[in-house]
Every structure is written in structure tokens, then in C-alpha cells.
Point group: D2
Chain length 365, copies 4
């Protein structure tokens, strides 16, 4: 994890900085005073713009600084402490968040649903749910969570999302989408944001910007917010405070100078820049995939549909690429070779992908 | 806390054993096999009998082994993790349960409402709730909890309960009653069980038996159970599983051989024995109060309305009573003397109260 | 789950009542007053007797009313909220406690280790732990939990426990044993209580009595209790209060009339009755296994080593047995037939096992 | 809370934007790729700089985005779930964080210690702790938390902090300092950072930057980090992962592009800019205090020692000031008038304070 890579760095889309539009918007927002805790006009504009993009005028939109917070808050608002959350074993919520969903839900259980290429199949989910509950002895089926695009760099089609949503809803569960790479999935599927979310049955979406050129900005979008019943919590200008808002606050995720989270969204959504950056990243991954496919000694482990490439090479090749100064994760070591994860971002250049492919070719001899 | 008291022991109603009817019912239930986890006929009979006694045919009734469990489960089912529970500082849930409400609710906050003689006044509660919320910055007013009888040995009248319930409901809060000594309060007020609970506005009741001659038996009674919406959790013969049932199970309070908790209730409720034992205990406390009132050097700190007496005596008198072998708690030491807590139970005899009063008189000279 | 079985009931060892010795001890304890909350001499005697039986004079012993409470408390005291608990998928803590471990630990994650016949293999555990952590991104390996006997009715030998303990300890994890059927495992292995627990590397034991003829009595035994450092919590006669004691109290599991939990242990341990009852139950299971083994059309799914039998029969046979009035669980339906779970208890008779075997033979034709 | 104030805005130091040095540092950090999740050189530099400023080379320093997160993480790492945290009723952790400490600690209880001008007195704390515990029945005294500067705009002197630390440590408790306005307190006391923290007995510090010209940057500083014992969690380049790090991650506060939090600290600490901005804010508050003191009809409710002024005026005056377009909080309404809270920040100008004082004088007639 040296910072001295002299060559292309494919470690993560989190290793990239922020886009020029995001940085400019931060500067724009740094003018004078603004009400703290999200009661400012930037936040109003950003949440409005997110609703517009999703064609969801009644959705509740909350901004957060991290994707783990967005996921954990989303899950906690739809899952009781004794609930079961069905997800793929590789799901970020299961493998990479150190138990954040368990913490935020006060102890719900993640039930793992295996599936090829990081994806859950509706029939497998259905079989599990049809097995029936164990009554009070086991956790209550409550939530299904999909990653879009997945941790394997693949994408659920609109039909696939809808099929899973149908299974979930038929059994009384809600559907969460971890959209840390939602933009990449939109590019991959060609679907519009609403087609790939609420129209396909998604109840609550973690909408990511950080991995797509944000500095630190995410959103939780609840498409059919439930009105609060018990208690009257007056929220000043904002009216009644929602369950999500209370949970965000007590989790320490109500950033005081919220205008700076909002500004990032405003900059990214302006002129559709967020889709251009995702499209750019996907294109670079496709270049890597095309180049590697043409090489006998390299095997793609998953279809490359978004901005991640999983390729298996001989261990010696991986060593040489590392020595060259390329950055990537060694995802898995097997006797058949080492699988590298290559992630592209808004700032990955065609020169970089070409340089990497050249190096692989050269090392393969 | 020696067990060698040779004289009357007024330490606690928890220091008493179980009544003959409770012990006999345990024996009766120990016949053959019975379905575990509350799916047995004893449990069905006991919960039915509790509904009958409360004239609440639709109430949800769950049996537990301890009062702390009953209270914490009741609070957790009506209070969100970000909720505020209003109670008296001396409330058992605040002072004697080591944070059980905070644990079960996943972190709700107890907001303390001072008041004379262990009781909250409706106007004080109202003033607090009228102050208004702090929006998302402070916990959300959710629940009011009363102890009946109180930790000061006093009792809320039906009108007092109703006045507090009205304030709570007017602000969207629910009312919990910690009825660890509910029977004692019924005797004190002359009210019927339904008059002192749901007809007065109580939403959920911890109905105690352990302090009233049970071995280890309590119940949570939710008068207007909310149907579960999300998820389908099949509960076999019992149909859908409720929020309370899930919470009880994951707290480890679904006793496997539930028939033995149920049997205690059946024995106690049979023939109104539970009211006779409470009446007996209250009468003994009244004897103590009457006797002490006639002594100049003894001061009752609270009206004696149920089965607890708080009396202030010179420290030297307390020492002599202890040396005699009487059992009691030293509740509070002040320059003006030491306050003793004397608790009577179903098995406290008239001889014992007389013996104690004689000793006090003798030591006072 | 009808209570009208006219024939032998093999539903569960929880469906049995309490032994005569347990019931007699309850009566013996119901004499006069005793300090509440475990500060009584019965509790002192019971915990002392448990230490004696385990040859663990320095162990911390806490009594509880349920096995789920014992397990969850044991796990919470050795597992941080961000910890991973390794267990078999069929482990009671994973499958039958509705998320109690997650609740008590404030969100730890159960990581499942598959294995034949309900048992984890040390090499599989080692492979998982050798994979290495994911640093801060994944939960921290903290605890291994074994069931003894297992949910498949099998038993870990002393050597098998020690091998797993060695793997756990070598990686810095602690070993919990869910001994809900510890007595049955002792009979099966012929080991002494200390050989099968702390001498084999068990750090904390849930020691069960309820399934072995108790009414409602379990114990948590921590073999090497850690002294409390921060804060001074004076516990009266008992000195400093331990982490386990605080956790038990706030979970509502410090039963007020603790003498009645203690009495059950005193009755059961007296004269080794607890081993006789377990031996009896195991013998009945062995009779069932022997009889079924001799039948071509019945297949035992797991070795029968304790008091549970899993046998696969044609579905029509199961239906006929049910119609006869026998009690059992239908564990799993497969095209190859239905697997029945038969559990024997202290009160299962030789006539009952013979009657059942006759019926199976008759139905098989 | 309109954003159209045409006059000085004293609502909050959170209403200010970020300083030029902070914004410049953000730009500087937005260069190329950097390892995510705090494994970058900016984070290394920032945490090193914080250690240098505090003269605490062995301290553990974790960056977070919000002060509530810093407080809640700090408290959770030193307080067990059954712990008591002693603090002033007005403490931010009690009044303004919606139960975040309860959430992060899994249910600890805040025990309130009253005191004039937002400050706890050591003798009051001592009296409470000397009362003694209630054994297992009440939460365990674990932590004392002070705000520096306080929510009343006052400051604890070095000696006052040390006196409270001594009481805490003598009873086995740890001392947390909520230093959201630590810089303002340093200016007020003239003490060095180490004198006002670890040398005075502070065990863990929430070190704030957001209210002092940061965009969104705080730090938790644990002065005597406890080495992790159980489990081996390999943290790659960073070695073993600490309790605080695990807690931060699962709370969703490990910001992926951490370099941008780090950069804010680097910019602010560079050349002592953070002390200049705090000094500036304090000076503006002093101007307000001086001006208001000279007016008969205005009463300062607390000594003005940092950057907050609490002044009581007639309600009509407050209305006029609001109509003028000045921004402030109406802190409390009483028959004697309304108390305004005025907060100054790095960007408050002398013109603004003068303008406000002029307006007050004019309205007072």
C-alpha cells in the first residue's frame, strides 16, 4: 500500500481524489454563515436534486459522509433488532463493514445467500424464505440487501432486481440496495435511476458518490417513508423528525457543516457529471477486460460489467507488476494463480490501462 | 444480610418464599410431558386467567421469570432506541435494574421527574413535555413509566394515573406501569384491576407475582397490541409472532419449561389468593405504621399505603433493633436519624409486627 | 404439538418435567425468609457444589434460569461488540436463540463453520483463522463456541475439544462450551467434568440442568475470571461485582428468589443424581438407535452418542407414527424421506422405547 | 434559521465555513491516488502533528468527521455497557447528541451532576461517588466527562481539571474531555495543550476542529492506550487494530478518503493557525461581553471566558434584534427576559460585534 506507485494505481476507486466539479462546489459553498446540521439551502438543493434525479418527489433523502453509515442507517430503519438480513457473502455489509449493520440494528443477523459472480438468484432467495420461519426461535426474515454494482464487478439487470424484489415483497421483506457504485450500474444497464431503483422494487437505497469522484458524500434514499406515529418531536423548520434522522444524529452522522456534503452532490449532479465520471470509469475497466481477454494466460473471474476487473494470473506475473509499481489488490491466492482486483475511477486514463496491458503482455513473454 | 435472623425479617417481599398455593400448583404441573416454550395448556390457562382478571380479552400476555425482564421488555416494545422514558428518580427501572431499560431498548434515555413520596405529578410531567423537543438533537419523548405501588410505598389513585396518562397521550407518549406490587396498589385503592390499568390509560403493564408470594413469575400485559406488519414469521400453533415475543426470546426469557411459570399464576389467581396475600401484607404494614405513628421519636417519611414503611429513628435505636435480630434495610442516613425500610409480605404475622413495635417502644425507653 | 399424546413423547428433553429430587429441594428451600438476589445460603451451597463437581475452586459460577441466558452471557463476557464467534451452523446459539448472542454482545457476528454430524473440525477452524484478519474492515476473531453434546446428538471427545481449544488459543481466541447437555456428553465420553471442560481448554461453560431434569436452572462457569479493574462497585457481602454479574443483572436474569434456582442444583447434584438421569436418557437413546439400526428402511443420520436420535424414514411411516400418538419433531423433509428427531429424557422408559420400535416395525410391515 | 441574515450571525461556530488554510490544504491533498481508509501519508502527518501539539508521542490518535462521533467513540472505549458516565446536565453528550453515548456504549447511563455556569465541582462529584455503589443493582461508576470550554461558555482551569481528575481516579473512574472548543479553552486559560489535558489527568480527549474553522474534522486522542489482548487482528501496515479503531469502523466513521480529514488538521495546525482562530473568536466574545456589561438592561448569565455569550434582555429587545437581521439562539425564556446565546467564530469581525452592540444600545433607548 505504498504511496510511491510510479505507475497506474488500480487499488480502489476510493484511492482517487475528488473531481474538479466537486472541489469547485466546496469552494462555492464556503461563503459566509449557514445554518448548521442540514438546515441550510445547499442541503435543500442537494436533496431536491437527488429526488429529481430519481424521479421520486416524496422520497426521504438524508446525506451522510460514508457509505458504511448510509448502509447501516438504511438497514436499521427497516430491520428490527431480531430481524434477518439476506445478502451475498461478499456483500460489503457482510465482509467490509466490521459489523456496522449488526451495531446499527442492535443485533440483527446477516443470513448469507451464495451465488455466482457476487449475485443472489431470486430462486435461491425464494427457496430460503419458503423454508419457513422457525417461529420465535430464529430471527425474523425482514430485509434483502443487494449491491449494485456488486463486489464482483457485475451488475443486476432491472429484471433481476425486480425478480428479487418480488420474492422479498411476497414474503413481507423490504429491499435495500447498496448503491455505492449505483452510477456504474446505471451506465452498465442503460437504465434510468428510477428504473433501477424504486420502479424495480427497491425500498431504500444507499446512493454513493464517494467512489465516483466525491470527497466524502453519500445519501440514504427511502422511497416510501413511513410517517412517525409515536411521540411528537418538533424539528423546527423541518417539521417532524423521522426515524432515519434520529438514527443518523445519534450515530454521529449529522455533520454540523452539512453544506459541504451537500455541495459535493450539487457539483456532481450538475450537468450529469456523475454519470460521465462513472461512464469513464466503466470504459477503462472494459479496456482492461478486452485486453486481458486476448491473453491466454489471463483469466477473467467474473464478467466485467462496471468498473472492477478480477483477473487471475500466475503469481510471478503479479510480482512483476507490483515491482513495476502498479497498484492493485491481491484478492485471492490459489494454486491456479493469484486473482488481482483492478478498479478504475473517474481519473483513470487510457494511457494507464494501455500501460498496464503492455506490462502484462511483456511479463507473459 | 445474615440468614440467622431470629426475629421478624422486613428486608423485602423478595425475601419471602412462595405461598402454599403456588407450591401446590408447581407440583400439579409436574406431570408427564408438555410442549416446551409456552406451547402448553398451563400457559394457555394462565394467560387466559390474567386476561380475565384484567377484563382485557384482547391483551397480549407474556410470562417472564423476573420483574426486571418484564419492565425492560415492556419498555423496549414501546420505546425506540432514541426515545426518552420519563420516570421518577427512585423508580426501580432507574435505580435498581443496572441499566436494563437502556440495554433492552438499545440505548433509550431515562429522563427523571422529581416528586414527593415517589410519585410524579401530572403538571410536572406536562411542563417538561410542553418545553418542546429539541428536534433531532435530543432524544424523542416516547414513554412515561409509573411504579404502582411506588418505591416509597405510596400509591397512585385511579384519577392520578388517568391524569398522567392524559398528559402522556396528549403528547403522543405511551404509559407503562411497573406493577411489581400491582396487587398491593389494588388493595390500597379499592380499584379493580382494569380500573387501575387500561381503563385509566395504561398501555402496557408489568404485572408482578414474585413479590406477592410467587416463586419467580411475572407477566407483561400489552393492552392494545400492534399487529406485526413486516415479514412473515410463522409461529406454528400460535400464529404470527409478536414483537414482544421475539424480544423475550432473544433476551433469554422464554423459559423452556414455561408450564412452571404458568402454574404459579394459576395457583395464585385461583380463588383470588393473590389479592388475599396482598391484602394481608398491606394490613401488616398498616399495623406497623399505626404503631410507629403513636411514638413521638419515630417519623414516617411517606404515607404508608401499601406494604412498605419508611420510618426515621435515632441511629442508636436502629442499632439496637439490628442487635435484636430484626431484618430491615437502612435506607438513608441523615443527621436527623436513619430511615429504615420495612417491607411486609404474605407471610408476615401479626405477632411479628407486634414484636417489632414492642422492641421499638422498649428501646425508645 | 398437541398435549394429547397417548404414547411416548420424544419431542424434547424440555418437554419433560422436573425430577423428584429437584422438586423435593424446591420444597426444602421454601422455608422462612432468605436474602434476595443470590445473597442466600442456598446459592452459596449450589455454586460451591458446582465448583466441586468441576474441580475448579476459583471458577466464577453464576446461576441463571435459561440456557439461552447462560450462553448469551458467557459469550458477551468474552466477546467484544466487534468480535467474531465461530460456531457450527446448527449450533443452538446460531439457530435457536433468535439472535440472543448478537443482542447480548451488542452486535458480534457469528461466523459459521460447517462440519459433519454437528461438529467443527479443528483443521477447518484453523484454516479459517489462518486466512488472516481483514484488519479493521472485518470483525475481530474472538471466540469459538462448541455444543456438547451437539445439536446432532453427537459428542466431542476430550481430545477433540482440546484440539479445537489449541487452535483457538493459538490465535488468541477463547473457547465457550454450550453444555446444555453437558451431562449427556460426560456419560458418552466417560470423562470427568474437569477433563471435558477446563482441562481440555474450555474457558467458559454454559452448564445446563433444565434439559436434564431441572425445572429451570442453568449456570455460567468462567474458569479463569478476569479481575475487574475500572471503577469500584461494592457488592456488599460478595465483594467486587464482576462483569458477568453486571451483565446478568441488566439482562433481568438475577432472579430475586435465587434460592429456588440454587435448590434445583443442590437437589440434582446431591448423590450424583444429575449423572444418573443423563445416563438413563442416553441409555434410552441407545436402545432406539439399536432397534432402528436393525431395520433396513430406517437410516440413522448421525451417530447416536447422547440422548438424541435422528432417523430417516419414509414419509408415510412418519405419518402413521404421528397418528399413533407418538411425539417427535419432523426435522427435515427430503425426497429420500423425512428425518425424525427423537429425544430421550430422565423419564423416558424402556417400555416407551420398545413401544416405539414395535410401532416402526409394524408400519414397515 | 433563515439564511438571509443581512447582519451579523452569532448562531453558532458551526454556522461559519472553513478557514482559508483548511480550504487550501484540501486542494493540496487532492492530488493523485492515495491509499484509502487512513493508510495514507496525510493521515500519518496529521496524527503525528496532533501528537506533537499535545506532547504525547504515545497517544493513540483517530480522526473523525464529527464531534458527536469523537465523543461517543471516546466514551465507548472507556465505559462498559453497564457503566455510569458522570456529566453536567448541559453537557453536549447529554443534551445535544440524541443519545449517541448510550448508543455507542450499548446502554451506559449518564448520571447528571449539577453545577453553576455549566461546570461540575470536584466536591459534588466526590460526594456522589462516596455514596458508594449499589452493588449489582445499579450501574457501575466508570467515567467522568467534562466539556472544555463548557456549554455555558466558561472554562475549567488546569487546577479545576486536575481536582476532578483526582476525584475520578481515586474512585477508579476515567476522565473524558469533550474538547469541541478545546482551542478556545487553551486561549482562555493560557495553558499549553498538554497542561490542560493529560498532565491535568485527562485520559481521553475529543479534540475539535470543526467549530474552530474546520470543514468537518475532529480527533479522538487516547493518552494511555491499552494494548489489545484477545484475538489477533492483523491491520496490515498499521499493525494490530485497536478497540477504538474497530469501534470507529463499525460506526461508519472510518472515512474512505481520509486524507481530506487529515488535510484539514494539517492546514489548521500549520503555523499555529488553530490557536489564532480561537484567539480571534474569544476576543470577539470578550468585546460583546464588555459592551453588554456596560448596559444596565443586559445581564450576563455566565462569565464570558471563551467564545460564547449568554445575555438576558427584555423579550422586546430580542424581537427587535431579530427583526434587524441578527442571528442568535433564544436559549431560555423566563419572566425576567429572554436569554440569548451569541457565539463568535474565526470569521466574526469587530465591525459585527460593534454593530450588534450599537443595535442593542439603540433598542434599549
Amino acid at each position: 500500500m505504498s504511496q510511491k506507485q510510479t505507475k497506474a494505481n488500480f487499488m480502489s476507486d476510493n484511492a482517487a481524489g475528488a473531481t474538479p466539479k466537486v472541489m469547485a462546489a466546496l469552494q462555492d459553498a464556503n461563503v459566509g454563515k449557514a445554518p448548521a446540521y442540514g438546515n441550510d439551502t445547499w442541503t435543500e438543493r442537494a436533496t431536491g436534486a437527488i429526488r429529481d434525479v430519481l424521479e421520486a418527489p416524496n422520497a426521504e433523502v438524508l446525506l451522510t459522509a460514508t457509505g458504511t453509515a448510509a448502509n447501516a442507517l438504511a438497514l436499521a430503519t427497516i430491520t428490527p433488532p431480531y430481524g434477518a438480513i439476506y445478502c451475498h457473502p461478499q456483500a460489503h455489509i457482510n465482509s467490509d463493514e466490521c459489523g456496522a449493520p449488526e451495531f446499527y440494528t442492535s443485533g440483527a443477523k446477516l443470513v448469507l445467500v451464495e451465488g455466482e459472480h457476487g449475485k443472489i438468484k431470486p430462486e435461491d432467495l425464494n427457496a430460503l424464505l419458503e423454508e419457513g420461519g422457525r417461529g420465535v426461535h430464529h430471527v425474523k426474515p425482514a430485509t434483502v440487501s443487494l449491491s449494485q454494482s456488486t463486489e464482483a464487478g457485475t451488475v443486476y439487470s432491472v429484471d433481476e432486481v425486480r425478480a428479487i424484489a418480488d420474492v422479498a415483497h411476497a414474503h413481507g421483506l423490504k429491499l435495500h440496495m447498496d448503491g455505492a457504485r449505483f452510477a456504474n450500474a446505471l451506465i452498465a444497464t442503460g437504465a434510468s435511476p428510477c428504473e433501477l431503483s424504486w420502479k424495480a422494487g427497491v425500498d431504500i437505497l444507499s446512493f454513493g458518490l464517494s467512489k465516483n469522484g466525491g470527497l466524502s458524500a453519500e445519501a440514504v434514499v427511502q422511497f416510501n417513508p413511513v410517517p412517525m406515529e409515536a411521540g411528537k418531536a418538533k424539528g423546527g423548520a423541518k417539521g417532524d423528525v423521522t426515524d432515519l434522522e434520529f438514527r443518523r444524529k445519534r450515530a454521529g452522522h449529522l455533520v454540523s457543516k452539512m453544506r459541504f456534503i451537500a455541495a459535493q452532490w450539487i457539483g456532481a449532479l450538475d450537468g450529469g457529471d456523475w454519470l460521465k465520471t462513472a461512464s469513464h470509469a466503466n470504459a477503462r475497466a472494459a479496456e482492461l477486460a478486452d485486453g486481458l481477454t486476448s491473453l491466454k494466460a489471463a483469466e477473467l473471474m467474473h464478467p466485467v460489467e462496471a468498473n472492477e476487473v478480477f483477473v487471475r494470473l500466475a503469481s510471478s506475473i503479479a510480482d512483476q507488476l507490483e515491482a513495476d509499481g502498479f497498484g492493485f489488490y491481491r484478492w485471492q491466492n490459489t494454486p491456479a494463480g493469484v486473482t488481482l482486483r483492478l478498479v478504475t475511477a473517474f481519473d483513470t486514463t487510457e494511457d494507464e490501462t494501455a500501460e498496464f496491458l503492455d506490462a502484462v503482455r511483456r511479463h507473459l513473454g
